[in-house]
């Protein structure tokens, strides 16, 4: 009997220490592993190009602690003259993000494409971080259900004219291993966007902006913004608002 008690005590000892640690944590009210969240609508803009115009969004939200975060991303567009909810096409991603080095985190998860043809699902694996010269980078590789490979690279940085007037150059590329005719999407470097957005931070969380973006789409690629006969590469003017909370 005493032996049983003894064994029980040994078995419970780590548990007791754990409880004490929790109790201490509760009393200290210090939680350096606390979870936070942020939603950033980096782009919510109206674009006007050669013969076409429409809306574009790009947003990201995360929730988690310093080390691990659940990350959701979405981007897409909708043409003018139609209700956005019915005609929008784009993608959404849900990723697990873990910091691994001084400047980089790795991400894995899933991506879904919607609108403009049949929906598509992808597995996603990528990195996100800060490259030298303060260049924010998102690089993700995707594997589609039919064995299609895709890749996305997005980079951007901030150049300050004043403490509130900030120029943001941005470069985004999307590549596919094979075309997807049902979604009217080409192979190879399917699209490339190089943008410049000049924003004014009314407060850090709210900044209207003006800008221009150079968009080039490969053959067999069509987006709502591009009507038949529209040139494959064009400049588009844009105006929008960036916000986060």
């Amino acid at each position: 009997m005493p032996r049983t008690v003894c064994c029980l005590a040994i078995a419970l000892a780590p548990l007791a220490a754990e409880v004490a640690a929790d109790e201490m944590q509760m009393q200290m009210q210090m939680d350096d592993a606390a979870r936070f969240g942020r939603i950033l609508v980096d782009q919510l803009e109206w674009r006007h190009g050669d013969g076409a115009s429409g809306g574009v969004w790009e947003a990201e939200g995360w929730y988690g602690n310093d080390d691990d975060k659940l990350l959701a991303r979405s981007e897409g567009d909708w043409p003018s003259g139609a209700p956005a909810a019915a005609t929008a096409s784009g993608r959404a991603e849900l990723l697990w993000d873990r910091i691994v080095t001084r400047w980089w985190s790795v991400q894995g998860g899933a991506r879904g494409d919607f609108g403009a043809g049949p929906g598509r699902g992808w597995a996603a694996l990528g990195v996100q971080g800060l490259a030298p010269y303060w260049i924010a980078v998102e690089a993700t590789a995707y594997l589609g259900s039919a064995g299609t490979l895709a890749a996305r690279l997005k980079t951007e940085t901030d150049l300050r004219f004043t403490q509130r007037l900030i120029l943001q150059p941005e470069l985004e590329l999307n590549a596919y291993s094979r075309p997807d005719r049902a979604r009217d999407q080409g192979a190879g470097l399917a699209d490339l966007q190089a943008g410049l957005r000049l924003r004014y931070e009314l407060r850090r969380e709210l900044a209207p902006y003006l800008g221009a973006v150079w968009v080039r789409r490969a053959d067999a690629t069509a987006q709502p913004l591009r009507a038949a006969g529209e040139p494959a590469a064009q400049w588009q003017w844009l105006a929008g608002v960036r916000c986060w909370f």
Binding site: M24, Q25, R102, P132, W134, L159
Partner: protein, 561 residues
């Protein structure tokens, strides 16, 4: 924010009350004290807010003790959440230290905790909450302890000058904001115009090399304080700059000013144009008097200075935040209502590569040098070892060649034309408390990641760390190496930190030791206080983010036999 003119306190009765010079400052003396922690409505900026106050006072009442007395303090918590009071810099039993989770469980809502301890020291100290962000919302107050043998320096006037940083924002929101965007409060970032100015001054090659180095490192030379005047209203004895706290004097009188930095996140550079300040004590410890025009005071640090105005006029006490984003201000004057010219804020300083403990060679140093002429005599420290955790994701830089020596007044104060205090100017009277040579050396690196807003020692946050185990009675040397670009005030509870000069000789005794970016600094500690103690950066949000360690001093073993 300069605050509304005549910043007001809304007292319990709902009466609007002008915050006039020293009017409301309550002084409690003796050996028995009843302190009540409660919310207090305040209005410093035009917006009504709730502060955390003691006996309806912000700052909390001045406590006057006598060396040798046993004081009893009955602290009642009338908040809806747990609270605590820590007696900063006091040498006392561990269960009286007031750190929830280490010293005691904290004070539950409605409960009273009785602190009782012998006062074995004298000088100027302070007290504050050690619970969550209650220090940010107002729970701080001065302590003045009269020496057993009488004051060393006679004076006709004696004022405590408590500096603090008030925000209308919820501190929890500030913390979350820093986690979301760590440069949120920094409105002194480098611009394209500044690059052009650097090119004009140093040439394209040197400017590009300097800017390129910072950009490759992904570090920001403007990041001096994480939370700035963008949200803070800096207070002097609870008065906004516009409300102008005033200390009265008659011409020729000796005035003792006991400066206490009770802020959560701010370093202040303090001067009184027209007056020379003679520093007579640091962190409550008497020092060889040294006369200066200006001194920097880190969060939780304390300096006693003497001034003697020869003229019948007002003098401005000007305390600008280290990042030049705002200032606290008060006045010494022969009559209430007088004021003197208020200096302009200086230009925001920029960190240099040398500040970060980086090699100063090649083109990059040319553009970086202008702020650093005083650095040439600074000795290079011994070779540095960085632990594996310092190369993990929670650390954004390490100092390859940390600077050594105590003569640097710090970023933004070098060669400003004034006589500025440095640790090298301060010598504690009477020497070290313990003449023994340290038997053991502990090296701790101050580490962090500004972008991710992670702060730690040796690359490990508090939650990932093990307590530091010290043997009772042992004499230790703590070596701090600042691997971050920020200045950190490091506070060891329960035991003195006896700072050494570059040669390893005793220099000064402190409870809170400021370590500059890229600096190596060492101090001796005698582990003569058994129990569990807090050891942390006194920048409140750094502490909450993990720049905190528990120290365990083993209980003395009974003599063998």
């Amino acid at each position: 924010m300069q605050g509304i003119a005549g910043g007001t306190l809304l007292l319990g009765a709902g009466r609007l009350f002008g915050r006039t010079p020293a009017s409301a400052a309550q002084v409690l003396s003796g050996s028995q004290f009843d302190l009540s922690i409660d919310q207090l409505p305040v209005n410093y900026t035009g917006a009504a807010r709730l502060s955390t106050a003691v006996n309806g006072q912000l700052p909390a009442p001045l406590l006057r003790w006598r060396e040798g007395d046993v004081v009893t303090l009955r602290v009642t918590n009338r908040l809806a959440v747990r609270s605590s009071i820590h007696w900063h810099g006091m040498i006392l039993p561990a269960d009286m230290d007031g750190v929830p989770g280490l010293s005691f469980p904290g004070i539950a809502p409605g409960a009273t905790y009785v602190y009782r301890f012998a006062v074995q020291q004298h000088g100027t100290y302070w007290y504050h909450s050690h619970s969550r962000f209650q220090e940010q919302t107002g729970l701080y107050g001065p302590i003045v302890i009269e020496p057993r043998g009488g004051e060393r320096h006679r004076c006709e006037r004696d004022y405590t000058v408590l500096l603090s940083d008030w925000t209308d924002l919820d501190p929890e929101h500030i913390y979350a904001t820093l986690k979301r965007q760590s440069d949120y409060f920094n409105y002194h970032q480098r611009t394209i115009a500044e690059f052009e100015a650097d090119v004009a001054r140093h040439g394209l090659a040197a400017a590009s090399a300097s800017w390129g180095m910072w950009a490759r490192m992904r570090m920001d030379p403007t990041d001096l304080l994480d939370v700035s005047g963008a949200t803070y209203t800096y207070l002097m004895n609870g008065a906004t700059p516009d409300a102008n706290w005033t200390g009265l004097f008659s011409r020729g009188e000796r005035i003792r000013l006991r400066f206490i930095n009770g802020s959560s996140m701010s370093f202040f550079d303090v001067r009184i144009p027209g007056l020379v300040m003679t520093v007579i004590a640091a962190d409550g410890q008497d020092v060889e008097p040294v006369s200066v025009d200006e001194f920097r005071i880190g969060a939780a640090e304390v300096y006693d200075v003497m001034v003697q105005p020869a003229e019948d006029r007002a003098y401005t006490i000007f305390a600008q935040a280290m990042d030049r984003s705002g200032f606290a201000r008060g006045t010494l004057a022969p009559q209430p209502g007088m004021q003197a010219e208020v200096p302009r804020l200086a230009a925001p300083p920029r960190l240099t590569m040398a500040d970060m403990g980086m090699a100063m060679s090649g083109a990059a140093s040319m553009a970086d040098m202008p702020d650093m002429p005083g650095m040439s005599h600074v000795a290079a420290a011994p070779a540095v070892r960085h632990s594996a955790a310092e190369h993990g994701p929670g650390v954004d830089m390490v100092a390859a060649e940390p600077r050594q020596g105590l003569d640097d007044p710090g970023i933004g104060l070098r060669d400003n034309g004034r006589r500025v205090l440095s640790y090298g100017d301060l010598r504690t009277l009477g020497g070290a408390l313990d003449a023994r040579v340290p038997q053991r050396e502990i090296e701790l690196h101050l580490t962090g990641h500004m972008q991710r807003y992670m702060w730690s020692f040796n690359g490990r946050k508090f939650s990932d760390s093990q307590p530091l185990q010290w043997r009772y009675g042992e004499r230790l040397r703590i070596v701090l190496i600042n691997d971050t670009m920020m200045t950190h005030p490091i506070h060891l509870h329960g035991m003195w930190s006896e700072v050494e000069d570059a040669g390893g000789e005793f220099q000064l005794r402190k409870h809170t030791v400021t370590v500059q970016p890229g600096q190596r600094l060492s101090y001796r500690v005698t582990a003569d206080a058994p129990g569990r103690w807090a050891y942390h950066c006194h920048l409140l949000y750094h502490m909450e983010a993990g720049m905190f360690r528990e120290v365990i001093v083993a209980a003395p073993t009974p003599a063998a036999g």
